[in-house]
């Protein structure tokens, strides 16, 4: 049995009230995110991916079921306690970057530390170090409107990771980027996942990317249509709801069981998280990351190419 799950959702549902009409966005979702995991979340638009991400990150509360983040049951927490839990445990990366305008990159990255009570000088040091890790050490005092889209998203990634969270939730992080830049951002996310042991949950429409993930969860109509971890069962045998779900990938005809050979991604597995250094096999990325990523992409894509 592996370490305690970072996030554990049991039969979670979320129903929106829209002008008196109930819109069920999630209808009984169970899943666990293990420390250091790499989960790709796929599914058609409107299937509930973003809703699930908001719940997993404690940005929203389920209307049914149980949800524990960092071992704490969300329903028992006040708004302030939930905010503190988000700050400690979760890092968000959004499609629209959501950087504060007219605010320098280093101040944007330091923002989560403000709410953790870290002093100004240490905030700046840690933010600068984090920007350096995402290859933006030379852009500390640039404003968002002075940065390219890819750079902005890397600032957002640095902001998500500056608090050293257990889970990084990225909802279509490349949706606003061209493919080359998007690939570089994805490579960065994967490298950080491998290097620092932060669990990565990634919403993506890119099959190749999804295939590279350690685990793939397909959503449809507010339920989990397929979970690649379920049949193998080795990591989440203690999560019965996930384990018993039949595997049927709606958007990929490939068989689920063969979906996760461990060779695809260097396995961080359940090792204790280490925040230091860069990942094995990945040189520290500089500004060269953008070009380096495109070179790296074909490798896993070739593997999947045969299947599709």
């Amino acid at each position: 049995m592996s370490a305690a799950p970072a996030i554990e959702a049991t039969d979670v549902s979320r129903t929106y009230q829209l002008d008196g009409v109930s819109v069920p966005a999630l209808r009984g979702v169970s899943l666990t995110v293990a420390p250091g995991d790499y989960v790709a979340l796929v599914g058609p638009s409107g299937s509930g991916k973003s809703t699930l991400m908001h719940l997993l990150g404690g940005l929203d509360r389920p209307t049914g079921g149980r949800l524990a983040i960092g071992g704490r049951e969300v329903s028992s927490l006040s708004a302030a306690e939930l905010a503190a839990l988000r700050n400690r445990t979760i890092g968000f990366v959004f499609q629209a970057f959501h950087l504060l305008p007219r605010t320098s990159a280093v101040e944007n990255v330091a923002l989560p530390l403000v709410y953790r009570g870290v002093g100004a000088r240490q905030r700046r040091e840690r933010a600068a170090a984090m920007l350096d890790r995402v290859g933006l050490g030379h852009r500390l005092n640039h404003r968002p409107n002075q940065l390219s889209g890819g750079e902005q998203q890397r600032v957002a990634i640095a902001r998500a990771l500056v608090t050293d969270p257990a889970v990084l939730l990225a909802d279509e992080p490349t949706g606003n980027l061209d493919s080359a830049t998007g690939a570089a951002v994805l490579e960065l996310l994967e490298r950080l996942n491998a290097a620092s042991g932060v669990a990565l949950v990634l919403v993506t429409h890119d099959h190749e990317v999804a295939a590279r993930a350690r685990r793939r969860i397909a959503m449809r109509d507010g339920v989990v249509a397929a979970d690649s971890a379920a049949p193998a069962g080795e990591r989440h045998a203690d999560a019965p709801a996930a384990a018993e779900r039949p595997v049927e990938l709606h958007d990929r005809p490939a068989s689920g069981g063969a979906d996760r050979p461990d060779t695809l991604v260097p396995a961080p597995s359940a090792e204790p998280r280490s925040a230091s250094g860069s990942g094995p096999g990945h040189p520290p990325g500089g500004s060269g990351g953008a070009t380096g990523a495109t070179g790296r992409l074909p490798r896993p894509a070739d593997d999947r190419g045969a299947a599709s």
Binding site: A83, H98, P101, L111, R159
Partner: protein
């Protein structure tokens, strides 16, 4: 952090502050004028001389109808006997009259007085001499002119020794007073002193309007006043008299001017309130405009309180900076008014503290609602805004 947001929206911040700036500046200016006027009146009442008792028929009260005086020069003699020193007693019988010289005319207050006036009140002459005892005893038609009257009738000549007419009767100018200035908009130099006996003859009356007594010392002033009032009451059964001191006059005037200052401050306070509503408005706009920022801050761990405090601080900062600017503007304007116009203005530390405190409080009061609204925003909805 709050400062950063304000700086980022400089123009809007400045426009929002304008309401507070104007409000605070008007509080400071109006209170300064009220205070300055009060101080000026106090100085003038004190400048009349020390240990003065004013004896008048009736009761000295705000809104009391002026009584027609039953006093005559015989009563003045009685008062002199009570006081024991004629040099300490002054009288007046006053009326408005047209004063002419050559082709010029001036309508001014003509006062019939005793020769003791400069000793009882503090009055100085610029030229010539004052009335003498024999001028009074013989009803001599001589006059001492106030500075304004002298300027109006004799703009380019020395008035001393020249003829004037008062209500058509000829008088000779024997002296000119040193100028006193204005008081509550009234020109105190617009007066003519003539012997009380001559004035009574001029007006065809035996009365005197009031008697002033300079007490030998402060301790026995009330006792002296009581004795004078008792003597006059004995001589005029059924008539009430009062003897009031400068302190009592100052008290009454102070009350009136205090109310006046309060009313001015309240009027200015209303404009400050209007400024506060502007702040509230702009903060609500700011919350709406920065909804995504609020959502993001919440996503990275800001508690509802953190967001609320941030917006409240912004509102307070806005009104405080506006308050300080308004104070500077108000002080500057008040000093200019004091220096360049006849309106007196005096800056008091309490009006500054009040104006600043109120502007900060306006920020809190009018920032609370927007701040609460910001704090309660649902982060998911907020992030999706726009």
């Amino acid at each position: 952090m709050a400062l950063g947001a304000l700086r980022a929206n400089r123009l809007r911040s400045a426009l929002t502050m304008l309401g507070v700036i104007i409000g605070v500046a008007s509080v400071v200016i109006l209170v300064a004028i009220g205070t300055g006027t009060k101080q000026q009146v106090e100085q003038q009442v004190e400048g009349l001389g020390s240990n003065l008792l004013l004896v008048v028929p009736g009761r000295l009260d705000v809104g009391a109808a002026p009584a027609v005086s039953p006093l005559t020069l015989a009563d003045v003699d009685a008062v002199v006997r009570v006081v024991g020193d004629r040099d300490r007693v002054a009288v007046t019988v006053a009326s408005g009259a047209t004063v002419r010289a050559g082709g010029r005319a001036d309508f001014s207050t003509v006062q019939g007085v005793l020769e003791t006036t400069p000793a009882v009140f503090t009055r100085e002459l610029a030229r010539g001499r004052y009335l003498s005892g024999s001028d009074v005893d013989t009803s001599r038609r001589v006059a001492v002119l106030g500075a304004s009257v002298a300027r109006a009738l004799f703009p380019d000549r020395d008035p001393v020794g020249r003829q004037i007419t008062v209500a058509g009767v000829r008088f000779r100018v024997i002296g000119v007073f040193a100028p006193l200035g204005q008081s509550l908009g009234v020109d105190r130099d617009d007066e003519v002193h003539v012997p009380v006996t001559a004035a009574q003859r001029l007006y065809g009356t035996q009365r005197v309007d009031g008697i002033a007594v300079k007490a030998p010392d402060r301790e026995r002033i009330d006792e002296l006043g009581d004795r004078i009032v008792a003597e006059l009451a004995r001589r005029h059964p059924g008539t009430e008299f009062s003897a009031v001191t400068q302190e009592q006059i100052l008290g009454v005037l102070g009350d009136i001017l205090g109310v006046l200052t309060g009313v001015l401050a309240a009027i200015a306070g209303i404009s400050l309130l209007v400024g506060g509503v502007g702040v509230s408005n702009i903060m609500l706009v700011s919350v709406r405009e920065r909804t995504r920022e609020i959502g993001l801050r919440k996503a990275v761990g800001a508690r509802p309180r953190d967001i609320g405090v941030q917006f409240l601080l912004e509102a307070v900062l806005l009104t405080s900076v506006g308050g300080l600017t308004g104070m500077a503007l108000g002080v500057g304007t008040a000093l200019l008014v004091d220096a360049l116009s006849p309106i007196p203005a005096a800056i008091t530390w309490w009006s500054l503290a009040l104006a600043f405190g109120v502007s900060a409080a306006v920020g809190i009061v009018f920032g609370v609602v927007p701040a609460q609204r910001a704090g309660r925003l649902d982060p998911v909805v907020a992030l999706r805004a726009e």
